[in-house]
């Protein structure tokens, strides 16, 4: 089917604006394939069903809209007290000075821009591969665009259990930067890794991460999308889960004019576990979209989606979440909750929760709610002497608790909570 003219032009303009980076044979092939797929799918417009609630115009435009760099001097950097291997990207460009040496026991870490020059590499079986699989049944052209254009990223091969998390820090210094990064994580059987991400990254950021978790492997991911108000981000995570593997991802988003986080997971081995959670805080010009698609393709797997958004002053939250249970995926335990706390009448939450079930012996539940602060609870707290602002914050934190609880590591959870509390405190002035 031929693409409509608008889409064709849009797609051509975007592809023209960035050159496909030079690479070695394996990567060049993946990129060429991705370019062809982008051309045939076309980049999304707001008329696409999957972009009904979020206008992708600024994510697909040839030039990235400018985003003022936001100097946050009133807050200690996140994960400051956590022993981690730091990898810094500034506006999408690897910063060797600021980064640690990329060696860590139990894992090999390479840069895409280095490894991509080789003729052959283990990442060949994953780079763009999980992304391609994730295009069915719903197309995600911005992810294919990423595969085509990514200038760098990390190829992480986890063979053991590294003693510390790998922490990717995305700095934003240039008001018109347009960054495209692509990471691949391969977790071998029985291995386990924790990946941290934080920072605003760029004026516009397109990031893709493909994660393959082999049998009994574990992948933990905690992300904080940083404080720049004007930055835009579209991110994709594509995960494939083997037997008895664990995949847990949590994202905190505070500020940002536009964020679209897509997570596409396939549980392919029995007894696997996938948890995806998010807490988003928006004030004013803030549009935050979580789009999640979890496919159960094996027996006795568990998946949880827990998304909470606190919105005020016209902020908009979006949730599109799906659990697809294939005919053979008996004994599936699927849970999905998306909730918003609207702190005023100007803000809105748009949710499209979906269940599609083809197996008969499953337990799936989903729920979506939108509500205001519970006045009775607020009065109860105030009647005990807790000032109104602090009482509201406590109720906001209590609203977010179910999502925060998904962070397994207590130190990291405390750090995320601290960031949240600081955000709330600043709003109170």
């Amino acid at each position: 089917m031929a693409l409509p003219d608008v889409k064709q032009e849009l797609t051509a303009a975007r592809l023209d604006a960035n050159a496909v980076p030079e690479s070695g044979a394996w990567l060049a092939a993946a990129r060429a394939d991705a370019v062809a797929r982008v051309q045939s799918m076309g980049l999304p417009t707001k008329r696409d069903e999957y972009w009904k609630y979020t206008d992708p115009t600024t994510l697909t435009s040839a030039q990235a809209p400018e985003a003022a760099v936001f100097e946050a001097s009133d807050e200690a950097p996140l994960y400051d007290t956590i022993d981690r291997l730091r990898v810094v990207f500034v506006d999408g460009v690897f910063d060797a000075e600021a980064s640690d040496d990329l060696t860590l026991e139990g894992v090999t870490i390479e840069r895409l821009s280095d490894a991509g020059r080789a003729d052959i590499h283990w990442a060949k079986d994953l780079y763009g591969v999980l992304e391609t699989k994730g295009q069915i049944p719903v197309e995600r052209p911005l992810a294919a665009l990423n595969t085509a254009l990514a200038t760098d990223g990390l190829l992480i091969h986890v063979t053991g259990t590294p003693t510390k998390p790998i922490s990717m820090i995305y700095r934003h210094k240039d008001a018109s930067s347009d960054a495209v990064l692509h990471h691949v994580v391969k977790v071998e059987a029985g291995a386990s890794v924790t990946i941290l991400e934080n920072g605003p990254a760029a004026a516009r950021f397109n990031k893709c991460m493909e994660i393959d978790v082999a049998d009994t492997g574990a992948f933990h991911h905690i992300r904080a999308q940083g404080r720049d108000h004007e930055r835009r981000a579209v991110t994709h995570m594509f995960g494939r889960l083997g037997t008895e593997s664990v995949f847990k991802s949590f994202t905190l988003t505070a500020n940002g004019v536009l964020t679209r986080n897509e997570v596409v997971l396939e549980l392919t081995g029995d007894d696997a576990q996938a948890h995806v959670a998010g807490a988003a805080l928006g004030d004013g010009a803030f549009h935050h979209d979580d789009t999640v698609f979890i496919t159960h393709d094996a027996v006795n797997c568990e998946s949880r989606q827990v998304f909470k958004k606190v919105l005020r002053n016209g902020a908009v939250g979006v949730f599109q979440g799906k659990i697809l249970v294939q005919p053979d995926a008996q004994k599936t335990d699927g849970y999905q909750i998306s909730q918003s706390l609207l702190l005023d009448d100007d803000s809105q939450f748009l949710a499209k929760p979906e269940l599609e079930i083809y197996a008969d012996d499953v337990a799936c539940s989903h729920g979506s709610t939108s509500g205001a602060i519970d006045e009775d609870a607020l009065f109860y707290l105030r009647s005990r002497g807790v000032p109104k602002g602090r009482a509201e914050d406590l109720l906001v934190l209590s609203f977010l608790a179910e999502a925060i609880d998904e962070i397994e590591d207590a130190d990291i959870a405390a750090d995320i909570l601290g960031r949240l509390e600081a955000w709330l405190e600043r709003r109170r002035g």
């Binding site: 519970d374 006045e375 105030r382 002497g385 000032p387 602090r390 934190l397 209590s398």
Partner: protein, 251 residues
């Protein structure tokens, strides 16, 4: 301690007058009880005193230790020494009971210009007070009132009162939902707090509670007014004969 003069209150949203001229003078160190038929305005009085939204004071005044209470925010009233044990304690999922207690205690201390309690000191005091009310460590850790039984919620109210050490304590049907043993525990908790500088206003339907917490004065409230006041014998009269005689007497 607490002076209520000619208090008239209507609902903010509706044209419904609930309190129609309440007068009460509660002296320091005393225990006053209010009894009265369902819907007579007892809980409304307790809410208006503690500053809940949704009510409009159309006339009258309230002074706590000489200060005009009606102008204060609920948290200011609490810091000034007012405490309400709710008839229906509120569940707050996601906020741990202990966090809640410590936040409340320290918020009040801060408002009064006192130093905040350290985590260690606080823990010691809570554990001790919780023990006398048979509140176990698990209940302290759980979210505020979530999944608590009726009686547990009421004991939790008394624990809060014991921690906050208010000067003016209003207990709205704290006895409802309590078994016989819990009633004793709660009463002992209250009695332990009785002293010359503290006043209690105990709202109840039953004489039974007043066997444990001996009131100095008993008031009968009906249709938004205090229609009769007397000694503890008034509660016995209600217990034996209901409200019909008293209502007839003042009609």
């Amino acid at each position: 301690m607490l002076e209520i003069k000619n208090l008239h209150v209507k609902l903010e949203e509706e044209d419904k007058q609930i309190l129609k001229g309440v007068n009460l003078s509660l002296e320091a160190g005393k225990v006053h009880a209010i009894m009265g038929p369902n819907g007579s305005g007892k809980s409304t009085l307790s809410y208006v005193l503690s500053g809940k939204d949704g009510y409009e004071v159309t006339d009258g005044e309230v002074h706590l230790l000489g200060e005009d209470v009606l102008d204060m925010e609920p948290e200011e009233r609490a810091a000034a020494g007012l405490f309400l044990a709710f008839q229906y304690p509120v569940e707050i999922p996601g906020v741990g009971n202990m966090t809640f207690l410590r936040t409340a205690v320290n918020a009040q201390r801060k408002q009064r210009g006192e130093e905040e309690l350290s985590a260690g000191d606080f823990l010691k005091v809570v554990r001790e007070k919780a023990k006398t009310l048979k509140i176990d460590a698990d209940m302290l850790k759980r979210p505020v009132n979530v999944g608590f039984s009726g009686g547990e919620k009421k004991r939790n109210e008394i624990l809060q009162m014991a921690m906050l050490e208010p000067k003016m304590c209003i207990l709205d049907e704290t006895d409802s939902g309590l078994d016989v043993d819990a009633m004793k525990l709660v009463s002992e908790g209250v009695n332990a707090l009785r002293d010359a500088g503290r006043t209690f206003l105990v709202i109840t339907h039953y004489q039974r509670l007043l066997d444990h917490i001996k009131p100095d004065v008993v008031h009968i409230m009906a249709d938004g007014k205090i229609i009769k006041s007397g000694g503890p014998e008034l509660a016995l009269e209600v217990e034996n004969n209901g409200y019909a005689d008293i209502l007839a007497e003042v009609a």
